[in-house]
């Protein structure tokens, strides 16, 4: 790897031991990628505060300094953690104090996280505590090099915003926050940002559900490469593309896609593929749509639903408004809980707008910071859950050993109110 003089100084300890460890990790990581240089970043989204059994043990042994060294820098030495060199935010984490008494989640973990937030906040980490930093003010501009984690945020930043980030991990994001550097590899380079697969949509794709299913299909087709989507598409909004991207990053490893005429790097179909020939399309028609629906609904046999989960990725204010509208004047079934996950900053907006009150009157809860998958926590005794998120339907059965139903917001609210799943593909 070719280092600049500045990078060599960091590696050799001129900026302190933690920065030297960060540079050492970036060099090992860059070598692993066969990457020859680093690029400058000044927008890092990583994870430092979320409690885990491993982290708890490290904090007991040597405080947050030790936890940061091992987990965020892959370093075994005792180091002092300096202020972050570049703007850095904390993504979604564990549950916070608003979950106390509502979510069966250890009080100890809530306290550990609050302790972490104080430690990292004092070092310049902004505690956004959401998987959707782009919903609460961290919106990189087109072409901006970033070091982001969270697959659903990475795909949004690359595809919808035209920013440049690979899917970083805890240690590479930690190292980037102390150095302002990341391997200049993959999505950071012009030549790697073109489409590789063409998907021709021949079934109307209009709703939030439609976009999530199309994303799940696209991830299956493209794997880790770049699908280009054309055909019978309504113009999507933030919420549609949030769901599409999260699903594509879940079923495959998609970090970048193009929708000609919609996303910024694909003004036309030809532009999406650059100098390469446009490939033969893979068709997404009614049969493929139906198969995706059946796949996502193949993890449920019992139609008694005890838990409904909305807001994966974290809900927008408009999604909260729509959930409130669907729940207006209704009450949840006594055996069913409904949680809507969102950034705490947007919970404030939902409170002021009266949406929270409507949802809580019906018996639902708005919860910040986390989600059942991240915190491995659902209401006590949950056996069957329903969600409007393809991503959560994919992950939660494996993580919690529960059954899953996937459908529209209305199907989910119906399940919450009746305690029964009656969703279907319409």
């Amino acid at each position: 790897m070719i280092l600049t003089d500045e990078e060599k100084r960091m590696r050799d300890g001129a900026e302190g031991a933690a920065t030297a460890a960060a540079m050492d990790l970036l060099i090992r990581y860059g070598d692993a990628l066969a990457c020859d240089r680093l690029c400058d970043v000044r927008n890092v989204a990583g994870t430092m505060t979320q409690p885990s059994p491993v982290k708890q043990k490290l904090v007991q042994e040597g405080g947050w300094e030790r936890a940061f060294a091992v987990i965020n820098l892959d370093c075994d030495d005792d180091i002092e953690v300096p202020a972050m060199r570049v703007p850095t935010c904390q993504l979604q984490a564990g549950f916070g104090p608003d979950a106390q008494g509502i979510v069966p989640y250890p009080q100890k973990s809530i306290e550990l996280q609050q302790d972490a937030e104080a430690f990292y906040g004092a070092r310049g980490v902004s505690i956004l505590a959401t998987c959707t930093p782009y919903q609460v003010g961290n919106i990189p501009v087109r072409g901006e090099h970033c070091a982001w984690m969270e697959s659903s945020a990475v795909i949004y930043a690359n595809s919808v915003l035209g920013a440049r980030t690979n899917c970083e991990g805890t240690a590479s994001a930690g190292a980037a926050s102390l150095t302002g550097k990341i391997p200049c590899w993959g999505n950071h380079k012009d030549e790697n940002r073109f489409g590789t697969h063409l998907i021709d949509v021949r079934t109307p794709t209009r709703s939030f559900l439609d976009w999530g299913m199309l994303g799940y299909f696209a991830g299956g087709v493209a794997g880790e490469e770049h699908p280009v989507i054309t055909g019978d598409l309504a113009r999507p909004d933030l919420v549609d593309l949030k769901h599409f991207g999260a699903a594509a990053a879940t079923s495959g490893g998609v970090e970048l896609y193009h929708i000609p005429g919609v996303t910024p790097e694909a003004p036309t179909l030809e532009a999406a593929f650059g100098t390469a020939k446009t490939p033969e399309p893979v068709v997404y028609g009614p049969a493929q749509r139906s198969l995706v629906y059946r796949t996502l609904n193949s993890q449920g046999t019992t139609t008694d639903v005890d838990f409904v989960l909305l807001g994966c990725p974290h809900a927008s204010v408009d999604q909260v408004r729509r959930a409130a509208k669907a729940l207006e004047g209704r009450s949840l079934s006594p055996g069913t809980e409904l949680w809507l996950m969102l950034p705490r900053a947007l919970k404030d907006v939902a409170d002021r707008s009266g949406y929270t009150a409507v949802i809580e009157r019906a018996g639902g809860r708005l919860l910040g910071d986390s989600c059942p998958a991240m915190s491995r926590t659902a209401p006590k005794g949950t056996r069957v859950f329903a969600t409007d998120s393809a991503k959560q339907a994919h992950y939660l059965p494996a993580i919690l050993g529960i059954e899953a139903w996937f459908g529209t917001l209305e199907d989910c609210v119906d399940a919450a109110v009746t305690g029964r799943w009656r969703g279907d593909l319409r």
Partner: protein
């Protein structure tokens, strides 16, 4: 004995029994670091343990928590002894680095086709060399 040649991801040497999949592996939500097991319900290796094995897989998929989940296997003593990765990405590259096990990629032949679960595999990652003794030839 079958030999494959590739590129170093993490240098070092290890040998062990192969655990091979043709399906990408998910870290977060796909493995349980405490037990060193694949837990993705629809994965062909669901329920199998990779601790002490040479893990041979085509690619990493899913969450950016991939590397920290594999790092946790190192910290909890459930890690594989080596990784052979057909197609490298940031997730698997960083994952191999923080798991601190020898790892190789960009092989001259498809490792997921040539190596079978149960084969004995020597991974000389420093030189990008892999030697496979098929299970049928093992005494």
């Amino acid at each position: 004995m079958i030999s494959l040649h590739g590129r170093t991801v993490v240098p070092g040497y290890a040998e062990g029994e192969a655990l091979v999949t043709r399906e990408p592996i998910s870290g977060w939500g796909g493995i349980d670091p405490a037990q060193g097991r694949i837990i993705e319900s629809r994965h062909e290796l669901n329920g199998l343990c990779f601790t002490g094995k040479v893990l041979v897989f085509p690619s990493a998929k899913g969450s950016s928590g991939w590397s920290s989940f594999f790092q946790a296997t190192r910290l909890l003593g459930t890690a594989p002894v080596a990784m052979v990765i057909t197609s490298l990405s940031t997730k698997s590259a960083l994952g191999a680095v923080v798991t601190r096990v020898p790892a190789v990629t960009d092989l001259d032949r498809d490792p997921c086709e040539l190596i079978r679960t149960g084969d004995w595999v020597r991974v000389d990652a420093t030189h990008g060399l892999i030697e496979v003794k098929p299970a049928s030839e093992r005494s």
